[in-house]
Point group: C2
DNA sequence: AGCAAAATGTCGGCTAATTTACACTTCGCT
DNA sequence: AGCGAAGTGTAAATTAGCCGACATTTTGCT
């Protein structure tokens, strides 16, 4: 990969924005680049050397298999997000992999050990990274407490609001979301059965809160959710 | 407070164990010390300057109030744990406070800004701290996914196992836990109603899995849980 | 175009667990 | 010692949402 390309990729993430061109260039830590298409599975825990990944394009879901063999969606990663062993500790206990949701994705990665060295040499970056991990933790806490204390309907509403906020195209009070999730995915994210999710979505459509199809979701009036 | 005392307090947490005596002494970041007794409430978010706290003695619970005014237990902090704005970002959105569970507690604290400076000057510490926050995140993720996918009984069993492991006095296969929680607390932690928790605990007692009273819980055979 | 697989829609029975309601016990305090 | 508050025990009614079962629609593939 060309030096300039590396620079551009890293520079694009807000975490690295504070580093100068020469700093990034000097570090040269990007060691992998990968393209993949819809439905493909990318293993990243265990396997070879521990890495941190940056999703450059598209969407993926992080899925884990529990003891009973059920799939659970752990996270949805969007363009620009980091994923992988963000805690800088490898654990082989959890069996996780990523599955491509959008038509195609571009992923770049670097070695965890290289990243650690970088953090050691750039205390400011280390501090930013700590805050970044902390923010991620806060988000998780927040979404989980929703899962626990609210009913399925409220959870779906909250999920749609969050999704609309992070990715929706706003047009007045109406928001259009590119829908790369199946109803089953949505059900898993809000921790309910597929049937319940279907029922709730149809109910919302009947109440003219949104219009749903496999390509996009249009929320008529985001303020009414 | 005497310099030596400060040193001792910090030194006691594994995070600071790598720092030399002179380093800690030089930094002198402990700026607060506090004792409190059972039932007392300690506010730590919002209010004055942001701080990080270290619980030296006793047990506290972190409680938050949601929109509807219900109390939720966010975390149980044990002797030696850090708490407060561990993410190094203050947010005033969440209304959280700590409540003392044990007879009395000792808490020391330092300013978040001082701690940030310290991290900037000690990259190794910064890295350790990041991993520490990451570990905390992993624990939270794990306990939440238990909450979501398992039924109340399994959750209670898991909670008791965890509690026994972190604090229990082992004696062969039997483990004795000092019980500073009410059944209501336990119910909140495992996210069920007080009645269900009571019922399950009595059921376990009837099945001779444990003996419960307000002072202690004795698990007859930890391997059978 | 045609077929299999994946995704969506719909229905009732079933069950864990919440809710409501109340009695009893223990604790902390003056 | 005695009282109120907090904690614990128990039971019945109610319900959200899971599960199984199936029909229909849409997609991707050759």
């Amino acid at each position: 990969m060309y030096e300039d390309l590396k620079y551009w990729y890293l520079r694009d993430h807000k975490l690295f924005r504070t580093l100068s061109y020469s700093q990034i260039k000097q570090l040269c830590i990007i060691t992998g680049f990968k393209k993949a298409s819809k439905g493909e599975i990318i293993y990243f825990s265990s396997s070879d050397v521990p890495r941190i990944f940056l999703l450059k394009k598209g969407n993926i879901k992080i899925v884990s298999i529990d003891d009973d063999g059920n799939e659970t969606i752990k996270d949805i990663i969007q363009k620009g997000d980091l994923f992988g062993e963000l805690t800088l500790e490898t654990d082989n206990k959890v069996e996780e992999y990523a599955k491509v949701l959008s038509d195609d994705v571009a992923i770049c990665s670097f070695l965890m050990s290289d990243f650690e060295d970088l953090l050691l040499r750039n205390p400011t970056l280390a501090l930013s990274y700590t805050k970044f991990v902390g923010l991620k933790m806060k988000r998780i806490k927040n979404s989980y407490s929703n899962l626990i204390s609210k009913d399925a309907k409220t959870r779906l509403y909250q999920f749609l609001k969050d999704w609309a906020e992070s990715e929706g195209a706003v047009n007045g009070n109406s928001v259009t979301i590119e829908n790369y999730l199946t109803q089953n995915d949505i059900a898993q994210i809000i921790c309910t059965s597929r049937q319940t999710a279907t029922q709730l979505l149809n109910e919302m459509e009947a109440n003219q809160l949104l219009s749903y199809n496999r390509k996009e979701i249009i929320i008529q009036d985001i303020t009414k959710l």
